[in-house]
Structure formats: structure tokens, C-alpha cells
């Protein structure tokens, strides 16, 4: 198992290198001149040329890419923001708290609201509860998150005045609407997947056996059905995390939350490339780590997968 984790961690190095090259190339073909957006429209042509030379913007692609990779992976420096003149890493870390709070709260909502909903729907298969919750889930996966956010603001912040419209100055209350808006689709899709996974398990022979043995409904459900149904659901949780991280970029814009997503969209608009590249790298790293975690949890939940690793270890 440790061997496997080690291998996966090592494999992340080429993945991060790949992300860096990819995002550097994307930013390289980006139109617009960082030098002119830095100096403003009043700068003269000579000043602009000098600034471009100073920033190394005149060097060929491969030289700039090499310099970027050297700086990032050897010196562990994400560079300085063109716009603020401050360290990109510090800027990202300062804003990361908001993004992570939202993403993690959303994740928690998805798991702890979506899964029970799906289980209830499956156990009341074709009943009223099943139909109502699955219809809601269908609507849930079809709503644009930012539009839901706008509507929630309109109802709960503007008309009812219960919650703040934007910003982060109100503590936890500021995060309620962003989290609901961002996790709604996740909850819905979690419920849908849990339901179909549960239904498949409920129909299998060992559940029939368990029922035939005269076990209580509760025991059959939680001891026999759920652990087996959970396995495919874990994958959804991992993918959900990617969606949440991407989704916060939009949600932070709707609610004016000073998180990583907003930092990055602002940076895109002001051609602040180091910030964009740094942000993508860090979010990619977090996402990859979470996917690794998901795979490890997988092994713990599913003894079959665990046995695979142990079997392999035995051979070696």
C-alpha cells in the first residue's frame, strides 16, 4: 500500500510538469501585452520596449518555458504578480482559505445530503419520495450554478434580508448562499448516483439471502447493501471535488468573495500571467492529491482492491 502511494506521489511530478508546460503554452498564445497593461496607456514606446526586455517577454518560447520551469520546479518560486508586484504564492495562500472553505463545505454538503437522499430514494423505489427527490435531482443537475446563486441572492438577501448579498465580512453567514449554489448540482448528482448504485446492489443475490435469513431491514440496508453501494459513489465524490474547485471560480465572482478563483479571473483580465499559471498549478496539485486520496479510500472500503495490493506485495 505504501509502495503504491509512493508510486502515485512520484507520478505526480511529471503530471505537474505537464500542467506547467500546458498552462504556460496556453498563456504564451494569450493575446495582449502584459507590459502595456502594467505601465498603463500613457507609457511611451521606448518605455514599453524596455519593460518588455526587462520582463523577458522578447525571448523565444523555449527559453521562456525553460526559465519558467526552472523557477517553478527547482527554486519553488511561482514568481511575482505583474499587477501587484507581490509573490504569487503568498497571494494564492492568502486567498486559498476562502476557496478551500467553500469547496470543502460544498463537498460535505454533497456527501452528507446527497447520499442519504439517494439511499432514501432507492429504498422507497418508485414511491412518492423516490419520484419527488429524483425529479428535484434532475432539476438540480440542470440548473446553472451562477444563476441559482443570483436567484438565491434575490430571494434570501435582497427580498428577505436574511443573509448578506456578497463579501466575506459576515463570518459563516457569508458562505451559506455560495455553498448552497455551488453544491446544488453536486448534491443532486450524488443522490442520482447513490440511488442507481443502491438499486443495483439491492437486487443482488446476497441481499436476497440476507433478507431470507430474517435479518432486519436496517441491518440488511446498512450492513449489507450500503458498503457495497458506496464503492462506485466514492469516485463521484472525487470528481465532484474537481467540479467544486472549478465551480468556486464562478461562484466567487458572483458573490465577490476574494478567493483564488476571483484572483485568477481578475488576473486573466489584466494579463497577469504568473498569477494564472500559479493558480492553475496549485489547484491542479490540490485536485491531484484529492484524487489520490480517493484511490486510497477506495482500497480501504473495498477489501478486494486492498487484497490486490497485498497480493502484489507478497509476490515481490
Amino acid at each position: 500500500m505504501i509502495r503504491y502511494i509512493g508510486k502515485r506521489l512520484l507520478w505526480m511530478i511529471p503530471v505537474m510538469l505537464g500542467i506547467a508546460i500546458l498552462i504556460f503554452s496556453i498563456m504564451y498564445i494569450c493575446p495582449g501585452d502584459p507590459a502595456s497593461s502594467l505601465l498603463g496607456p500613457s507609457a511611451s514606446a521606448v518605455e514599453l520596449a524596455a519593460k518588455r526586455e526587462e520582463m523577458g517577454l522578447n525571448d523565444p518560447y523555449i527559453v521562456r518555458l525553460g526559465r519558467y520551469l526552472y523557477q517553478t520546479f527547482i527554486k519553488f518560486d511561482l514568481g511575482t504578480s505583474y499587477k501587484f508586484g507581490t509573490s504569487v504564492f503568498a497571494g494564492l495562500m492568502e486567498r486559498m482559505q476562502y476557496t478551500l472553505v467553500i469547496a470543502l463545505l460544498c463537498m460535505a454538503l454533497q456527501v452528507f445530503v446527497g447520499t442519504p437522499l439517494g439511499i432514501m430514494a432507492a429504498t422507497h423505489h418508485n414511491g412518492v419520495w423516490d419520484r419527488v427527490s429524483m425529479f428535484l435531482a434532475l432539476v438540480g443537475v440542470s440548473i446553472p450554478a451562477f444563476w441559482l446563486a443570483l436567484m438565491l441572492v434575490l430571494i434570501f438577501a435582497v427580498n428577505l434580508g436574511w443573509l448578506p448579498t456578497s463579501g466575506v465580512s459576515n463570518g459563516l453567514a457569508s458562505f451559506i448562499l455560495p455553498c448552497i449554489a455551488n453544491s446544488f448540482a453536486g448534491i443532486a448528482s450524488q443522490a442520482r448516483h447513490t440511488r442507481s448504485s443502491m438499486l443495483e446492489v439491492i437486487r443482488s443475490d446476497y441481499i436476497v439471502t440476507a433478507k431470507a435469513k430474517g435479518l432486519s431491514r436496517r441491518t440488511v440496508l446498512f450492513k449489507h447493501a450500503l458498503p457495497n453501494a458506496l464503492i462506485p459513489i466514492i469516485t463521484i465524490v472525487g470528481n465532484g471535488m474537481g467540479m467544486m474547485l472549478g465551480g468556486t471560480v464562478i461562484i466567487e465572482n458572483v458573490f465577490a468573495i476574494p478567493g483564488v478563483g476571483r484572483y485568477m479571473t481578475d488576473a486573466i483580465n489584466s494579463r497577469d500571467y504568473p498569477v494564472v499559471m500559479g493558480g492553475v498549478l496549485i489547484l491542479g496539485l490540490i485536485f491531484s492529491l484529492i484524487m489520490l486520496l480517493v484511490d486510497i479510500v477506495y482500497a480501504f472500503v473495498d477489501p478486494r482492491i486492498k487484497a490486490q495490493y497485498e497480493g502484489r506485495k507478497g509476490k515481490k
Partner: protein, 295 residues
């Protein structure tokens, strides 16, 4: 008893109609999916005919109608420039649907080509392609679309490219997994043994038997792509005003949402309706293609 009779009947039917007919037969019996399909077709028709059927010119501004509330003359009201919102939504369906359909199509075509290549040949090609896809997948999809569309600039073509790249890895993975199970079957070996060309083995033996999960994911994918396209336009990338597009309309309306909520309510409802129909159809297709999953 009656189900058994029905089953034999379905069996007879399948022999006569083939796999495709069987799927369509099951799909036609699914009311929810059919409602989704019909509404979707109506919306597509509306998008195609929009230059002729919109009640007003979508670009015509009017000072008197600025922020006009919904009324009998302007069912959905008017926007900041006095343009009729209903007409803009009807016309905007073109951009929104086109973006969703084309991005998914591009992602699917590339994904199916790559997927059948790596699934069939395996080995080194498989390893290289899958590792590259690992890298693309390590970036959250929305983030990748944002970065690419910032690099390429706005406009429909560029947005299609930005949205499709993120969709490729999933299609490849799905198809690859499905091909790997089909590939070992005896009929593939048989086809190879009677000297079928590789192209023929892939297109007429492997793909028809492994494409089902891709078709379902494509249907759902269009909905997702439409949501992503709208999000991109909303933060000022993607399609930009004055082109009427639902996400862009929301973006224009957001600053006045507290005073004039109708600017935002209706475009959002339009997006929701389309995606809902696509998901209803997708669910139906999934059930029709894999009857084991139903009931």
C-alpha cells in the same frame, strides 16, 4: 405471467429490428424521455426559425422601453437598452445550442478516434495518450476552459475549442474501458481471422458494441457544456455582447438584478429548460441501452 409473454414478444421484436430498433422501441415507451426529446426538438426548431418568428427584432433598441417589466406586449420585458428579452432569448438559443452541440461533437469525434486507437492497439500508444490525458484531467474542467478561452479570445469558434478540450479525456476513457472488454470477445478474433481490415474490425465490430456508454455521456455532456458555456459568458469570456447568448444576457443583467430581476430570471430559465430536456433524454437513453439498470 404477463411479463413473461411480453418478454418473449420483445425477443421476437429484437430479432426483427436489431439492436438499434430495440433501443428506440424502449426509448419510445419512456414518457419522460419523449417529453424531453419533443421539447428539445421544438427548441431547436425555434432556434433555426428565430429570424422569422421572433416578435421583435432582437437588436432593436428603444429608449422608451428601457427596463420595461414583463407585459402583454413584451412577455419577458425589455433589457437595459429596451430590447425585447423574449426575442433575444429565442435568437440566443442559436448561440447557446450551437455551442453545446458543436463543442460536444468536437470532443466526441476526437475522443472516439483516440479512444478506439488506444483501446484497440494498446501498448505504447495507449500509455502515451493516457498519460497526456491524465495531465489534462488534473486541471479542473472549468478552469481549463477559462484559461483556453482567455488565450484564444472570445467568439463562438474559440469558445467551442475551449469547451471541447476538457471533454476529450472522459470520452476516451469511457470508450477505452468499454473497448477493452469487447476486444477479448471471440467474434472480434473471428473477424480478425477472416482477414477483415483493422479499420473494418474497429468500425463495424468493435465500435457498435462499445459505443453505448459514450452515446449516453454525450447526451448528458451537451447539457453540461451548455452550462459551462453560459458560465464562461457570464464571467466575460466566451460569447460576448451584443451577440444574444443566454449566459451573456445574464452577465449583462446581473448589475441591475436587484431592481429588475426579470433581466436575469428568463435567460436562466431558458438554460435550465434546455439542460433539463437533455438530461431527461439522456436518462431515457441510458435506461433504453442498458435495461438491466432499470427497475
Amino acid at each position: 405471467m404477463s411479463t413473461a409473454v411480453k418478454d418473449t414478444h420483445a425477443g421476437v421484436r429484437s430479432r426483427r429490428q436489431g439492436q438499434f430498433g430495440q433501443v428506440m422501441h424502449r426509448l419510445r415507451k419512456n414518457k419522460v424521455a419523449m417529453v424531453g426529446l419533443v421539447v428539445l426538438l421544438l427548441l431547436i426548431l425555434m432556434a433555426i426559425l428565430s429570424p422569422y418568428i421572433t416578435p421583435y427584432d432582437y437588436a432593436k433598441t428603444s429608449k422608451a422601453n428601457r427596463y420595461a417589466l414583463p407585459s402583454w406586449e413584451h412577455l419577458f420585458g425589455c433589457d437595459a437598452m429596451g430590447r425585447d428579452i423574449l426575442s433575444r432569448i429565442m435568437y440566443g438559443a442559436r448561440a447557446s445550442l450551437w455551442l453545446g452541440l458543436m463543442s460536444t461533437l468536437v470532443a466526441t469525434v476526437v475522443g472516439v478516434l483516440l479512444g478506439s486507437l488506444v483501446g484497440y492497439y494498446g501498448g505504447k500508444v495507449d500509455n502515451i495518450v493516457m498519460r497526456i490525458l491524465d495531465i489534462i484531467q488534473a486541471i479542473p474542467g472549468m478552469l481549463l476552459s477559462i484559461a483556453i478561452s482567455a488565450a484564444l479570445g472570445s467568439g463562438i469558434g474559440n469558445t467551442i475549442l475551449a469547451l471541447s478540450i476538457g471533454g476529450i479525456p472522459m470520452t476516451v476513457r469511457l470508450l477505452r474501458g468499454s473497448i477493452l472488454t469487447v476486444r477479448k470477445q471471440e467474434y472480434i478474433e473471428a473477424a480478425e481471422k477472416i482477414n477483415c481490415s483493422k479499420w473494418r474490425v474497429i468500425t463495424s465490430h468493435i465500435l457498435p458494441n462499445s459505443i453505448a456508454p459514450v452515446i449516453v455521456s454525450v447526451t448528458m455532456g451537451i447539457g453540461n457544456t451548455i452550462l459551462q458555456a453560459a458560465s464562461l459568458s457570464y464571467i466575460g469570456l466566451g460569447v460576448q455582447p451584443p451577440t444574444p447568448e443566454w449566459g451573456a444576457m445574464l452577465s449583462e443583467g446581473k448589475s441591475m438584478i436587484t431592481k429588475y430581476p426579470h433581466l436575469c430570471i428568463f435567460p436562466g430559465l431558458a438554460i435550465m429548460l434546455v439542460v433539463l430536456c437533455l438530461n431527461m433524454l439522456g436518462d431515457g437513453l441510458r435506461d433504453a441501452m442498458d435495461p438491466k439498470l432499470k427497475n
